[in-house]
Symmetry: C2
Subunit: 182 residues, 2 copies
């Protein structure tokens, strides 16, 4: 395994309410130096794959402020301070789709943009759903869209289902369920 580069300097170069950007100066094992900008840490997020029954996903349609359009995807949110990730997942489920889950498990921990952003997101599979609603901070009611897992091909064709993390979560879920069926 390679020796990680030495961090020669680290400066905050920009900051807003949500984002911090730092510049790091690195010296690689071969002596090469580079400056990179990165968005450090912050809290983990969760993305939840809710299974209503063994063949039915519950997707949501909500506005993405980054993409500036309505996106089909999975419920998600940030893990609050002092909150367990699975509790955060169950809270987001109840806020966004009106279900709680009797069974929750982390099936992956994914980076989103490892070249620039430190943030990681936990993929949580939620089963044994029961109706339960918590008030959330959504600006408008979130549309819930049931989708058959057997119709995966049609979902992947949709232009509004294009988030890398959601596609990874979908395939990882399908693979896990296939393994469990044996």
């Amino acid at each position: 395994m390679r020796q990680p580069p030495k961090i020669l300097a680290r400066h905050l170069v920009a900051r807003s309410r949500l984002f911090r950007v730092e510049e790091v100066e690195l010296e690689f094992a071969n002596g090469a130096r580079r400056r990179y900008e990165r968005i450090p840490g912050g809290r983990d997020s969760v993305l939840i794959v809710p299974l209503l029954d063994p063949d039915t996903l519950l997707l949501i349609r909500e506005y993405g402020a980054g993409s500036e359009r309505y996106e089909l995807g999975f419920p998600k949110g940030v893990v609050e301070p002092d909150e367990e990730p699975l509790a955060a997942a169950n809270r987001e489920l109840q806020e966004e789709i009106g279900y709680g889950a009797g069974r929750l498990r982390i099936i992956a921990r994914l980076s989103l943009v490892p070249g620039y952003i430190q943030h990681r997101s936990l993929i949580v599979l939620a089963q044994d759903l029961y109706p339960s609603r918590l008030p959330g901070d959504e600006p408008e009611p979130i549309e819930v869209v049931p989708w058959c897992l057997s119709e995966l091909g049609a979902l992947l064709q949709r232009e509004d289902f294009d988030e890398a993390r959601a596609i990874a979560a979908l395939f990882l879920t399908q693979r896990l369920l296939a393994e469990e069926r044996g």
Copy 2:
């Protein structure tokens, strides 16, 4: 389909060499108003899945300035101004792994963090590889790691292969190749 929210205001709130952060004030169709921070546009990137033969992927191991560790993943880079995406993919391949590709095709266009970041990344499948090297701006030689597609499970188990976009690209490639085999 829902009416997209009206953009009431848009301000630049932070800026660095690489990143711009803007605040948008939105009014949703139901009258609710929210302020969001987002990282607008910029150029597309490409992530390339290089297939040396029908069962062998070429992965790379390189340092991620965001994650601050060495990551196993696919070659990638930014599409330069006036550059075609497939030309960018072929350039990055030659810079990062020392191969060009006789056949390149875009198999997906993915968002990475649609809630906050507008950027999209093209997933390019590269086949008919031939040895060819172009000088790149990498700080150190990139380690190339051949991996059997049939060993997908072992790859997904690795802690250093955790980028959502790479995992999505891997499954989309596997699915496409299975369809083509019929």
